[in-house]
Subunit: 432 residues, 2 copies
């Protein structure tokens, strides 16, 4: 179903990018083309054909060899002509269905996953990350391209620079070759061929023509890198808003692992601050909770996610929470009965994660994806940390006791409900 080959047009001179090949510009630590090729590969594309010019050809060759993509390089000796000609030059290298994609477009994983399963021109009716004035627009009739161009006043969708075509397209390029003496843009090929249109709306993609637009692409990559299935209320409405901005600042400089370590130490420092200054400890704790999203965002934006990284991060989070509650109890409580409450709050706190992670261990599936009811249950880490901070802002003997009771009830009830919803789901699935 997914085409085996992708043709990448990379013959244009990046004049507004200081003459550097745009496909080799790094955003979030990865060349634009590396990102596109790797995501295409993960979606099932096996072979690549990169059409470039004589000047860039050695640079692209080096890039391809470094990353080991199965690629044929085609040199367009007349790159100053319209990029329709570059497509035409790839005609001998492809068979059947193939992906056609621009080297200066940056795509999110979510976009590519859907786009490769489309047909014809992949168009976006809700483009979020492009300058509409600069974009190529299309009107669609009966599911096919009617008109295409930058100047259209009325349009249905925006050309994403991503196509799923087949060999038939080369009949059209052959005609245009003779009509236009080899100088015609891709949009003319698409318009003439009246290719089908598949809508992939509102997902992450953008193009990069100027250094300014690199920033926009970076922001797009970070924003679409939020995983979010396990995010609670505070995470969605507060933490992610801050963490994505931090990630934008750091994504070119910091690795996910470095960020994991920094966040862990900030969390431990917040715990160690409890005997000194409770409001400050609470604020540092909430800060570490915000930063806790950054390592994952960096990893996904940099295409550096690792199961081991997620594993270690998850252990460290539990130790931050455990240490914070333990030291908070040690600092503020005196009577055994309150320690009993604190012990149950700490137990419940770890068990919230245990109860969803253990599901994954048993079923090899994500609990939040399988049992959507869990997403709405309160008591996730981001909510607990925020609550803790609130209670610590104006600490009094009673307020902290109320905090521990609240945590003990909230977490252990959540675990009970998690077990209930999961059991219900599993038993239903069996009887269906």
């Amino acid at each position: 179903m997914v085409p085996g080959t992708a043709v990448i047009l990379a013959a244009g001179f990046g004049t507004r990018m200081g003459g550097k090949p745009k496909g080799l510009v790094k955003i979030a630590g990865r060349e634009i083309l590396y990102r596109t090729m790797r995501l295409l590969q993960e979606s099932g594309v096996k072979k690549f054909v990169v059409v470039t010019n004589e000047k860039y050809s050695p640079l692209y060759r080096e890039f391809i060899e470094k990353h080991g993509f199965d690629t044929e390089l085609v040199v367009n000796p007349e790159p100053e002509k319209g990029n329709g000609h570059s497509l035409h030059l790839a005609r001998e290298k492809v068979e059947g269905k193939f992906v056609l994609v621009m080297s200066d477009h940056v795509y999110s994983g979510g976009f590519i996953e859907k786009a490769v399963r489309g047909e014809g021109l992949i168009a976006d009716r809700e483009p979020r990350w492009v300058d509409i004035n600069e974009a190529t627009k299309v009107t669609v009739k009966d599911g096919r391209v009617l008109r295409i161009g930058k100047g259209l006043k009325e349009w249905d969708a925006v050309d994403t620079g991503f196509f799923v075509l087949d060999e038939g397209i080369f009949k059209v390029t052959a005609i245009l070759e003779s009509e236009k003496n080899g100088d015609y843009p891709l949009s003319e090929v698409i318009g003439r061929a009246k290719v089908p249109v598949t809508f992939v709306d509102g997902l992450g993609w953008t193009d990069v023509d100027t250094p300014e637009e690199i920033k926009r692409a970076r922001r797009m990559l970070i924003r679409t890198a939020v995983k979010g299935t396990g995010d609670g209320f505070i995470s969605r409405h507060l933490n992610r808003r801050v963490s994505t901005r931090v990630s934008e600042l750091l994504v070119e400089k910091v690795t996910p692992n470095q960020m994991t370590v920094v966040t862990f130490f900030l969390g431990i420092i917040s715990a160690l601050t409890t005997p000194v200054n409770l409001p400050l400890a609470g604020i540092l704790y909430q800060l570490s909770s915000i930063l806790d999203g950054v390592d994952g965002e960096l990893a996904r934006a940099q295409l550096r996610t690792s199961k081991l990284g997620g594993y270690i991060d998850s252990l460290l989070d539990r130790y931050v929470d455990g240490s914070f509650l333990a030291l908070l109890a040690y600092t503020t409580l005196r009577e055994p009965v309150w320690y009993l409450v604190a012990l149950l709050a700490l137990l419940g706190s770890v068990m919230v994660s245990y109860s969803t992670e253990r599901f994954k261990g048993a079923f090899c599936r994500d609990a939040y994806a399988d049992v959507p009811a869990l997403r709405k249950l309160p008591g996730k880490r981001d909510e607990r940390v925020f609550l803790t901070m609130l209670f610590l802002l104006y600490p009094a003997g009673l307020s902290i006791k109320v905090l521990f009771i609240t945590l003990a009830l909230l977490t252990n009830t959540r675990v009970l409900l998690t077990a209930y919803f999961i059991s219900k789901k599993v038993l239903q699935a069996k009887t269906i």
Copy 2:
């Protein structure tokens, strides 16, 4: 590789079993034949041919319909003749390689998994669950059967009643049909055909001729139902010895879920006993730890394992441990600093499980199987519970403080080492 069809010989009258078809005798809650057919199915066998007699045929038909196995029933009108004839009657129903198995033999999952991948007669050089005097013995030469019979004085291995044959065997039965007027035992077919021999040594299998032997089969099923990959020192040397005996007593009467509930309540009762009587609480806690193995043993022996059951059991274990430590601390400790130690002991206690279960969640693989170094690390639940009981037998203020310090250090060090060994393993696997 695994044959698609299995022929099951079930024509013999169970004279010593009160005339009941032996294949339909229930052991550990399941008919012998249900067990064999389901385990064969899990190993890849799709179709079954059951050869039985006129009297038993309606009973077997009912059994097959109830369980929905894809089965052809063949009636042997002369069941009093040797069982070689029963095999001969199946000749039209099989093609190519097939499994041949006796209806009165009880096999463990581990045995069948290996045996279906063998060739010819599957023989056992270290039979653990059979009466050697009654067993059919074989001598082997050049990898093939040389002699076969119950009376052999010198022998190499014991016939397990499990064969992987092909159509060629029916040439031999055809000859014996005319030579012996249709009355010859299977062993004569095997001996005459000089089939190859595959050794599958020391695994769980036995045959059932008398009510006495049902007990032996039950014991075999329980003993081979011990999973054990996550078992610590105390579990291997003490808990399992007791729990398997308990399982033998309960396996016909109690479901795994019932056992999970009973064990949980015993654990909670042990925790609630801490304010009343510490030595008793410790003993009850250790008792619940022993019983904690029983639900899994019952589930495996009864072929009733469920991921949900394992999931719930695992949550309940954490709550028993958490409650026990929380109430023990509440009962015995007074100074905040000792509560701090107790909080860390409780955290570490849950984190020991979290750190291995979270691995499964991330990698969909068993941590103990993938990272054998983890098996030798001390600090597993069975060891912690036993240690706790020891410290509580002669409780004094100091001894309990030492217990909490020991638990806090033991568990959290174990988590640290778990993270270390897992990281090492994952990173090595990547660079190889």
